[in-house]
């Protein structure tokens, strides 16, 4: 492959150019988000708009905190909810995945098919009744309204079942059972330590999903103090002069954790997100 000396054709150069131009279009919004976060509104509204960083980030942040007095708290709720959802999913999904991968039991295939079928249910159908259920339970404006319903996702169970059945030989769990290990002990002491790579991937996917969730909090969180970051950012869109600098600063803060995760683990993340689609 490397010793091909054939000249690169003009068509291919054109294709390289298109792909490169496309990459710029993909990245430009992120670039402007960070650049605008460091400029005052007057600078952003000038023609042409700034393309390099300014020094107004602190000013924008103060403006943001002025419009959203609970922004740090909102950020805290977003982290709290995302981490809680992630930890619960890792536990419940791996436990269920382990059961589906390693045990023989009656109705196993049918129960698994039911789980997979729930993935097909469009989320908007549950939007209205979920809001009602939450208000009957008295969970409105409470993080648990976002944590408990999403504590065990179907995608996670599928992913864990795939990984466990390919990574762990049944002899291993049989041996642990003969040695007197309890059923939960086999999961906790034998299976769990062996599936950390899959847990890492599922953790990333779950965290990102919860962090970005907008429709969920939109219907169950009404109190500004309890907002998650997406809701808080949306509240900036009020009437009057739009504070573009502050909006960009807030958006940049909301996107930053995701960018860090992506830079560190993009390959693993992409593989994890697509695994359901490819194998399923």
């Amino acid at each position: 492959m490397a010793i091909v000396t054939k000249r690169v054709s003009p068509t291919r150069w054109f294709a390289y150019f298109i792909v490169a131009a496309g990459s710029i279009i993909m990245l430009a919004p992120f670039w402007f988000m960070f650049v605008f976060a460091t400029h005052t509104n007057t600078e952003i509204l000038s023609v042409p708009p700034p393309v390099w960083f300014g020094d107004a980030f602190v000013g924008n942040l103060n403006l943001l905190l002025d419009k959203l007095p609970f922004f740090w708290k909102n950020l805290g709720w977003s982290f709290y909810i995302a981490i809680a959802v992630t930890v619960l999913n890792l536990f419940f999904c791996s436990l269920a995945g382990y059961a589906f991968a390693m045990y023989h039991f009656k109705y196993k295939e049918r129960l698994f098919a039911v789980i997979m079928a729930t993935v097909m249910l469009p989320s908007f159908v549950g939007m209205i009744p979920t809001a009602l259920v939450m208000s009957w339970l008295g969970w409105m404006n409470q993080p648990k309204a976002l944590i408990i319903p999403s504590a065990c996702g179907a995608f996670g169970i599928f992913m864990m079942r795939q990984y466990i059945s390919s990574a762990i030989p049944r002899e291993l769990t049989e041996a642990a059972r003969i040695d007197g290990c309890s059923e939960f002990g086999i999961y906790w002491r034998v299976v769990l330590p062996l599936i950390t790579p899959a847990l890492g991937t599922l953790g990333l996917v779950t965290f990102i999903g919860s962090w970005n969730n907008f429709a969920g909090p939109l219907i169950v969180i009404r109190d500004m103090e309890m907002f998650t970051v997406p809701l808080a950012l949306r509240a900036l869109q009020g009437t009057g002069q739009v504070p573009w600098g502050a909006i960009s600063a807030g958006s940049a803060i909301a996107v930053l954790p995701l960018l860090v995760i992506f830079v560190i683990s993009s390959r693993r993340l992409i593989a994890g997100l697509t695994s359901g689609a490819i194998k399923g």
């Binding site: 993909m26 402007f32 708009p49 419940f92 045990y103 259920v133």
Partner: protein, 326 residues
């Protein structure tokens, strides 16, 4: 331990079997999978069934459960005849096609290009295209709102500078690109703008799907075709595309299901209102507004189920179309 053993030995075969203690590995799996089913019953199935029940009632949530009045299929009749619902459906389909079709028309060649010609930088390039998919739709929609603003937006600046590009006193591109700033808030521009943002967000996801499918096509096929004298273009049309069909089916299905429930991007871009003349109001937004702005939960539930039926119908049609070609 001694007593039950002796009884089972002396007793008849059938009762002994029924009295046998259930072993831990027989009941444990049911316990292990129970969290999903408990959560699904409480927060999945029950709400759905209640929503079906609700869609046959007229109900203002403020009156409590006692205020529910059975109206039969009245809500459905109203929804099916409602002009605003028709308009939101039209918007939804417009957006689904205008953002969905280009996603696949770009993603397939891009994945092929990345697979065939990019070696060292493949992951970087694919990663760049994929990045929008994992970022917060709210943050992104807000940023796009500033990029698309009329007087200072970078999009207008780029488009008009191409439109006003001048060679020897003439503007060769003025017929295709605008020469003055576009007001993206006007109804005729709302949908194209939303469609672009949705396209931008999901094209990388589809590229990754197609790329992973391309990587499963054995290289021998291409080698054999090269020996037989097939050009790259012929290889693309006669080897790659047919073998991509299963993934195309899956990706198109996901785009249809996803695009018909489009909510977040148009909701943020139009500030929750649907924009001027409701040009950017999708069916899911119509459902949301009926429930949470007009407090008409019965009609909103009917909207949800009509939309659900449409999605199910289109999924079936898509299924038929893809299986027919064989």
């Amino acid at each position: 331990m001694e007593a039950p053993m002796s009884t089972s030995r002396s007793g008849a075969a059938a009762p002994a079997k029924s009295r046998r203690r259930l072993q831990p590995w027989e009941w444990a799996p049911y316990v292990f999978i129970s969290p999903f089913f408990i959560l699904f019953l409480c927060f999945g199935l029950f709400p759905l069934l209640f929503s079906v029940w609700l869609s046959f009632h007229s109900w203002d949530a403020a009156t409590g459960l006692g205020g529910m009045v059975w109206v039969g299929i009245e809500n459905y009749e109203f929804v099916l005849g409602d002009e605003w619902f028709h308009k939101s459906l039209f918007n939804t389909f417009w957006l689904a096609v205008a953002s969905g079709l280009p996603q696949h028309l770009v993603a397939i060649p891009l994945a092929f290009f990345a697979h065939t010609y990019l070696a060292k930088y493949r992951n970087t390039v694919v990663g760049i295209y994929f990045l929008p998919f994992i970022t917060s739709s709210v943050a992104i929609a807000l940023v796009f709102n500033s990029l698309f603003s009329r007087d200072f937006g970078i999009v207008n600046l780029a488009l008009t500078s191409i439109g006003n590009f001048e060679v020897a006193g003439i503007h060769p591109l003025a017929w295709l690109f605008p020469t003055s700033n576009i007001d993206w808030g006007q109804p005729q521009y709302t949908k194209p703008m939303i469609a672009f943002v949705v396209f931008w967000r999901y094209v990388g996801w589809n590229t990754v799907l197609y790329l992973s499918a391309l990587q499963t096509i054995p290289n021998d096929l291409y080698e054999a075709a090269t020996i037989d004298g097939a050009s790259r273009r012929q290889q693309f049309w006669y080897i790659t595309l047919p073998l991509l069909k299963p993934m195309m089916f899956l990706a198109v299905t996901m785009t249809i299901i996803g695009n018909l429930q489009l909510f977040e991007e148009p909701f943020i871009i139009t500030g929750g209102t649907g924009g001027l003349d409701q040009a950017g109001k999708t069916a899911a937004m119509h459902m949301y507004n009926t429930a949470f702005v007009d407090s008409d939960f019965g009609t909103a539930s009917a909207v949800a189920w009509v939309l659900f039926m449409l999605i199910a119908l289109l999924t079936v049609v898509n299924n038929k179309v893809f299986s027919q070609k064989d």
